[in-house]
């Protein structure tokens, strides 16, 4: 081990020891992975989406594996805000890392109510507005695919988020992701998460019906990484860099090299999702791989490479 490399990053005023965080929905609420990875070593912890009332979620089957990916349709199954505050927050307090709570709802009032309550929770440092879930009938993606709706919900949340930073999680299921990003930033988003899953379908050729009970779901995993990297880069160059808004990049990160692609493309922080299902320990392997990459490149700080993508040869 030679000299140490500074992996710390700043996400809208929240200082992270390293850029690695969990992607919402793939890591539970707090300590579910405690047996498999030392969560205290993360840059930040992002919870599964919390809604005002508990949700049972969609019917089974909810996931199907694809080549280099998986399609899920969980349907925002979660314990609801009250149980989250009573049962999960005490566990989060013991992690000792900044916590961002993913929030969802079926209307703007729901999001605002959840975000408002989270203002009173010290361990929470930010809310990530999930306006891009493809798996619920109302709310979710309907907000995330329309610039006026993105603007409206972001403004409403901005009014209640004072202590907590406001992160908006973008859907990739749009024609122009930069236009959506601009709407969010103009309305007050302090950080952008991208991307959520791609709406997708897998067909059972024997029954000639969709495999998932809800018909369709969201594709995640290594299969989506090249599209996610492209979207991060576009949003970085067209919106985020100029506005000084950090991007939390995600979509198929499994190895350190995947993470480096996102950093070069303009992400400040990184979330790992589907790969956690295979091995939660990959978070720390990626972190160590980042440090090794930076050392080999002669860098002192990870921040030196953010957005440093070169022109194609």
């Amino acid at each position: 081990m030679s000299e140490t490399v500074d992996l710390s990053v700043d996400v809208a005023g929240v200082s992270l020891a390293n850029p690695l965080m969990t992607a919402s929905g793939t890591c539970g609420y707090a300590d579910e992975y405690a047996d498999f990875v030392d969560l205290t070593q993360l840059g930040a912890f992002v919870t599964k989406s919390v809604t005002l009332k508990p949700r049972a979620g969609n019917e089974y089957p909810r996931v199907v594996e694809t080549r280099a990916g998986m399609v899920n349709s969980i349907g925002l199954a979660n314990v609801g805000l009250e149980a989250f505050l009573a049962e999960k927050v005490p566990l989060l307090e013991r992690l000792g890392v900044p916590v961002f709570v993913s929030i969802a709802g079926s209307g703007i009032a729901d999001y605002v109510a959840v975000a408002g309550r989270l203002e009173g929770v010290d361990v929470v440092r930010g809310v990530e507005a999930n306006i891009s879930c493809p798996n619920v009938k109302e709310g979710g993606i309907q907000f995330g695919t329309d610039v006026r709706q993105v603007s409206r919900i972001t403004q409403a949340l901005k009014r209640v988020c004072r202590k907590n930073i406001l992160i908006v999680k973008l859907s990739p299921n749009v024609t122009d992701v930069a236009a959506i990003a601009r709407a969010a930033v103009d309305a007050g988003a302090e950080a952008l998460s991208l991307v959520n899953t791609f709406t997708a379908m897998v067909v059972d050729t024997d029954t000639r019906a969709p495999v998932l009970a809800s018909g369709r779901g969201g594709l995640s995993g290594p299969a989506i990484r090249p599209i996610a990297v492209y979207m991060v880069h576009r949003v970085y160059t067209e919106v985020a860099r100029g506005a000084g808004v950090p991007i939390i990049g995600m979509g198929g990160i499994q190895f350190a090299r995947d993470a480096i692609e996102f950093l070069l493309a303009g992400a400040t922080a990184l979330a790992v999702g589907t790969a956690l299902f295979v091995d939660p320990g990959c978070l720390l392997e990626i972190r160590d791989g980042l440090a090794e990459y930076l050392r080999r490149g002669g860098h002192r700080s990870l921040r030196e490479i953010i957005g440093s993508l070169q022109a194609a040869p």
């Binding site: 979620g57 996931v63 594996e65 280099a68 899920n72 290594p222 190895f255 299902f277 091995d279 791989g289």
Partner: protein, 321 residues
């Protein structure tokens, strides 16, 4: 492990293949040597990554000399192995001197993951998450146990039978398969399986543990012709055991388990069922392996996770779709 969070006695382990033996067409018995594996119980499972341990290590592209073109070998191109792990119920466990443990699972080739597993030979290494889920609860009071395994559902019963006999229970096994060739039979000297749903010392895996088996085959090629729960129903009717004496443990196709559950509930027999579900993580986070269970209040049911709340449930808990 972090001191800040509670341990559930699970972890990610490296398993070394001791043996991967074909036991009948497409079926394999895999024995793994694992160091410091936590305590486990029958009904629990492990999640095996069906990909080479080398293949999941980060390719060291950073090693390439400056100025050389990049290799176009992304991890997903260098690996033709499935992304997600595959769950296997424990079919046995033996703790060895020095803190190592021998774990046994059985697998059947059904796709890319199990085809990869089938080609493993002794000395190969695999990544193992476990032990996962909740296992069977061995009844304190009831002296008799019937274990029912349909197809691959036989596997957890082998581990369970060991625990039951060690606890001094009187055990009878039921093994259901499509055809007789799919069942390893005891060697010469064993009585042939009875077509009248009477237990005999015929099925090698159970006979080794001193437990007689009722065999049911769909095609009648061996033992009882028909479904496993029909053989069980016939045995129950002939034997008329007192419901208070007997615990039934079953794992297999859902129609079989529902039928067994219904039979038991109607007679006051305690019944525990091990469910199977498609799952992404096995650790209780992906929320994909749901089953519907009874619950108080509205709407009268709730989803539970087979990987975490199960895979073993009491028959009276389950609401079948």
């Amino acid at each position: 492990m972090p001191g800040a969070t509670q341990s559930h006695g699970r972890g990610n382990f490296r398993g070394r293949v001791l043996e991967n033996r074909s036991i009948c067409p497409d079926h394999y018995r895999l024995r793994l040597l694992v160091e410091r594996f936590p305590p486990s119980c029958p009904g629990q499972f492990i999640n095996i990554q069906c990909a080479s341990v080398e293949g999941i290590v980060e390719p060291r592209q950073a090693d390439r000399p400056a100025g050389r073109p990049p290799r176009l070998s992304q991890p997903e191109l260098t690996s033709r192995q499935p992304l997600l792990r595959r769950p296997f119920s424990l079919a046995g466990r033996r703790d060895l001197a020095g803190g190592s443990t021998e774990l046994e699972v059985m697998h059947r080739v059904v796709g890319a993951g199990t085809a990869w597993l089938a080609q493993l030979t002794a000395g190969a290494e695999v990544s193992v998450l476990g032990p996962l889920g909740s296992g069977f609860a061995i009844s304190e009071r009831r002296p008799m146990a019937a274990v029912l395994g349909g197809g691959m559902g036989i596997c957890p019963m082998l581990y369970l039978v060991e625990a039951l006999t060690a606890a001094g229970k009187e055990v009878v096994a039921f093994a259901g398969v499509r055809t007789g060739g799919a069942l390893p039979l005891a060697s010469a000297g064993a009585e042939p399986p009875s077509p009248a749903a009477r237990p005999t010392m015929c099925t090698a895996e159970f006979a080794e543990k001193g437990v007689a088996t009722v065999v049911a085959t769909d095609d009648g090629s061996l033992g009882f012709r028909g479904l496993l729960h029909e053989a069980f129903a016939q045995w129950l009717a002939q034997r008329r055991p007192d419901g208070a004496d007997l615990t039934v443990y079953a794992c297999g196709p859902e129609p079989m388990m529902k039928a067994v559950g219904d039979l038991c509930l109607g007679r006051g027999i305690e019944c525990q069922l091990a469910l199977e579900r498609y799952m992404a993580c096995g650790m209780g986070t992906c929320q994909s392996c749901v089953c519907r269970t009874r619950a108080g209040g509205e709407p009268g049911w709730q989803f539970k996770l087979v990987c975490k709340d199960g895979p073993v449930f009491r028959a009276e808990e389950l609401l079948w779709d």
